[in-house]
């Protein structure tokens, strides 16, 4: 299935402002503990880590676990100093990796 994301970054920030960034990604977060109607164990398929970078520098990182619900939502902060590019990286089981880039405008 196609991967969809919802990323909420303020359109503009003042230098030194603490901004709230929110990100949701579509993902089933299959726990690995459930069985299908035939009784077969469904293999675990979760996002293991999420990180957010400003330029090359990772400023937020989080581990995710089977107890996290589908379509995980994360909210975190960043102190904006200069304009640049934010990179959102989700990676997990079965070689899952998804990146999104969002411009951050500071003025």
């Amino acid at each position: 299935m196609r991967i969809r994301t919802l990323i909420d970054v303020p359109p503009k920030a003042r230098p030194g402002e603490l901004i709230t960034i929110r990100a949701t990604i579509s993902h089933p977060m299959e726990t690995g503990y459930r069985r299908d109607s035939g009784g077969t164990l469904l293999a675990r398929d979760i996002i293991r880590t999420f990180s957010c970078r400003f330029g090359d520098k990772t400023f937020f990182r989080s581990d995710l676990f089977p107890a996290v619900s589908a379509n995980p939502y994360l909210s975190f902060h960043y102190r904006a100093q200069v304009s640049g590019e934010l990179t959102f990286i989700w990676s997990g089981d079965r070689g899952f990796e998804h990146r999104e880039r969002v411009a951050l405008i500071v003025e």
Binding site: M1, R2, R4, L6, R22, T24, S26, M29, S69, A70
Partner: protein
């Protein structure tokens, strides 16, 4: 079973009559305020806002002071955390499907290669209020169809594309995108006379006991609305927020899927997703919720 149906009918009639009276009373409020205002001015007294000496006010003061619609959306039964999830589009997981719906709207489909946008243009204008008035009449089938069914019919007739199964991701995407264009608008009552037989059929189904557990919709969603079933509140069953992202499903789903859940819950066979029974029930439920604001795409526990 028949006894139960007979016993429930007056209950439903009572509800309909009460709603009618309430609507009448609401319509009278501005009139009364206006007359009070002019009376006060004529007698040289300063007008008192919201107060009038009209006799109707003495007989029904509670209606004038707080014209309350006693119906409650499922939203009001939810925890503040779940309510916040619905109200913030950056958190509402249903918005993931809305983006998909917009993409499907603009992409050619089927042998015809037509896009939804070719006929319907900009959804912001052409789809405004649409979700608030479905199910609607389909001339070719000569019966009412749900919004998802209509999208499927459009696929078959105008795009020469195969119909999608109920709750297919693409249908849900389009339905969610269209539902968003009716957010906050009141759900329209059934006024099309052609829908009347379906509405009556739906009303009868609503109070008919079914399944091994022998419960009717009304048993839970009218008699015991507000009570709890297995720790969860029983809502009044107003379909105001469909398609919903249901936390229990961990996915977006239609009113059809939700109704199927209730059919399974009382151990009855589920009717066909796009069939006559399902659409009749939906016509009645939408009419029952007429006037309540459309919240879709919403979140439910």
């Amino acid at each position: 079973m028949i006894v139960a149906r007979l016993a429930l009918r007056p209950l439903l009639w009572g509800l309909a009559t009460r709603r009618l009276l309430l609507a009448l009373a609401l319509a009278l409020v501005p009139l009364l305020l206006l007359s009070g205002h002019t009376l006060a001015q004529a007698s040289g007294q300063p007008p008192t806002p919201g107060f009038s000496t009209h006799s109707a006010q003495r007989t029904q003061p509670q209606v004038l002071q707080s014209p309350v619609d006693r119906r409650r959306s499922g939203f009001s039964f939810m925890s503040p955390a779940t309510q916040a999830l619905q109200q913030d589009d950056a958190q509402n997981p249903a918005m993931l499907w809305v983006g998909d719906g917009l993409r499907a709207w603009r992409e050619p489909a089927g042998r015809g290669g037509n896009r939804c946008a070719d006929c319907h243009g900009n959804p912001n204008t052409s789809m405004r209020g649409v979700a608030a008035r479905y199910p609607a009449w389909d001339a070719a089938l000569a019966r009412p169809v749900s919004l998802a069914h209509r999208i499927n019919l459009c696929r078959e007739r105008h795009q020469q594309a195969p119909a999608r199964a109920a709750d297919h991701e693409e249908l849900l995407g389009l339905e969610a995108m269209i539902a968003l264009r009716s957010r906050g608008l009141p759900i329209e009552p059934v006024t099309d006379p052609r829908l009347q037989p379906a509405r009556e059929q739906g009303q009868a189904l609503f109070s008919t006991r079914i399944g091994q557990i022998a419960l009717s919709c009304a048993d839970c969603h009218e008699r015991h609305a507000g009570a709890r079933l297995g720790g969860s509140p029983i809502p009044e069953g107003h379909p105001t927020a469909y398609p919903i992202f249901r936390l229990q499903w961990q996915s977006l789903g239609s009113l059809t899927r939700r109704l199927q859940g209730c059919f399974t819950g009382v151990r009855a066979d589920s009717p066909e997703p796009f069939g006559e029974i399902m659409s009749a029930l939906q016509v009645f439920l939408r009419d029952r919720a007429a006037g309540m604001p459309h919240e879709g795409p919403g979140v439910r526990p």
